[in-house]
């Protein structure tokens, strides 16, 4: 019994020292990490919606997840204070996981898409990041739902990745359209 308490205390001591050290390192790095993430997001927003000069973030709790795709953030894209579209940050399962920024204009087209994160297999699922696949979404009309084989070309050998991305995009488009109508009011 005595031995058990002694060992427990020693373990607690080591753990506390480790915790204090980590808290210290976390404190040192957290601002840099946050600003790196912000910078990446802002750059992503500019890439998907180059025409916009400012972005207004909406309350993302108004946008529930659709078909297991999480809507992480919703932005209204503005040029000279007028709403010209929206940008949606959506994440969901592909072969592994993907987080995508999608730009949608008020004219019911997509501007382009940008991957913030894609953890699929190199050489296969990762091909989604390449122009051959990604660029087919530039200025694409979105009056109809996207579907593989009809209006979207899949990546050969990576059907599951393609399917997952289309699912994320459809959810993002739906939320983006909603954001534009709500933003206009």
């Amino acid at each position: 019994m005595k031995q058990m308490i002694k060992l427990g205390l020693i373990l607690a001591l080591y753990t506390s020292i480790a915790c204090v050290t980590l808290a210290f390192v976390n404190d040192l790095t957290k601002d840099t990490i946050a600003s790196a993430k912000d910078k990446e997001l802002n750059e992503g927003l500019k890439i998907v919606f180059a025409q916009a000069d400012s972005f207004e973030q909406l309350d993302s709790s108004l946008f529930p997840s659709i078909n297991d795709v999480t809507i992480d953030a919703v932005y209204l894209a503005k040029a000279d204070e007028a709403i010209i579209g929206s940008v949606i940050k959506a994440s969901g399962a592909t072969y592994n996981d993907a987080t995508i920024l999608v730009g949608i204009t008020t004219e019911s087209t997509m501007t382009s898409i940008e991957f913030l994160e894609l953890t699929d297999t190199p050489g296969y699922g990762q091909q989604a990041k390449e122009p051959a696949f990604k660029d087919q979404f530039i200025d694409k009309a979105i009056d109809e739902t996207l579907a593989l084989g009809t209006n979207v070309d899949a990546i050969s050998g990576s059907t599951i990745t393609s399917r997952g991305i289309v699912k994320i995009l459809n959810a993002a488009i739906e939320s983006g359209k909603k954001a534009i109508t709500e933003g206009a009011q």
Partner: protein
């Protein structure tokens, strides 16, 4: 001094963790798709290995035998988290490319193995020499595999395109390619070692 050089050389070639001890393989196969990733992963592991071995060797008389494994894991996990935070802050691209394999260094068999079998019994200087040997042993094999895989799979090397895209072989960037290149590395180093030992035997 010669003793420390022997310990260093031991990890580098003779008991190379990847090629001869065959431990810590999963991370080495997963991250070696590009030269930068291989180098980054190798350096991260070397740092964690060195710090953990030195600290554990320093504390070896203060760690009760019956709870040594949890204490080792706490120490290793602390250094891994430090590396992860620093990498996310100052090298976000590399952190993204290595993804889950940085936190997974905690359970890397090379570190657990060396800490348990070496650092917990030897002096600080010997442990440091062993850690550097094992760390650089891991590093050179990792960078070697990544250079081959990146060159044949992507046709690039540190941003330069050496092989035109039409002639690259996608197989090398996938997992089977990793196994294949790794197996060739093992075969070639063993061949060299056998030849070397035979040569040495004849001279005697």
């Amino acid at each position: 001094m010669k003793k420390y050089w022997q310990l260093f050389k031991n990890g580098l070639v003779k008991e190379n963790p990847l090629l001869f001890l065959m431990i810590g393989l999963c991370s080495s196969l997963a991250v070696t798709t590009s030269f930068e990733n291989g180098l980054g992963m190798g350096l991260a592991l070397t740092f964690v290995l060195l710090m953990s071995e030195v600290l554990i060797s320093l504390l070896r008389k203060l760690i009760p035998d019956s709870i040594r494994i949890p204490v080792f894991i706490i120490i290793i996990a602390t250094f891994v988290t430090i590396v992860e935070l620093l990498m996310k802050a100052y090298m976000p691209d590399l952190a993204k490319a290595l993804g889950v394999f940085i936190p997974l260094i905690v359970v890397n068999c090379i570190i657990m193995g060396r800490v348990e079998s070496f650092a917990s019994k030897r002096t600080v200087a010997e442990s440091a020499a062993d850690a550097l040997g094992m760390g650089f042993g891991y590093l050179w094999v990792l960078t070697g595999i990544s250079i081959v895989r990146e060159l044949f799979g992507n046709g690039t090397f540190i941003g330069m395109t050496l092989i035109p895209e039409q002639y690259t072989i996608g197989f090398f960037t996938g997992a089977p390619g990793g196994f294949f290149v790794f197996a060739i590395f093992i075969a070639v180093t063993r061949l060299i070692r056998v030849a070397y030992e035979k040569n040495k035997g004849e001279q005697k």
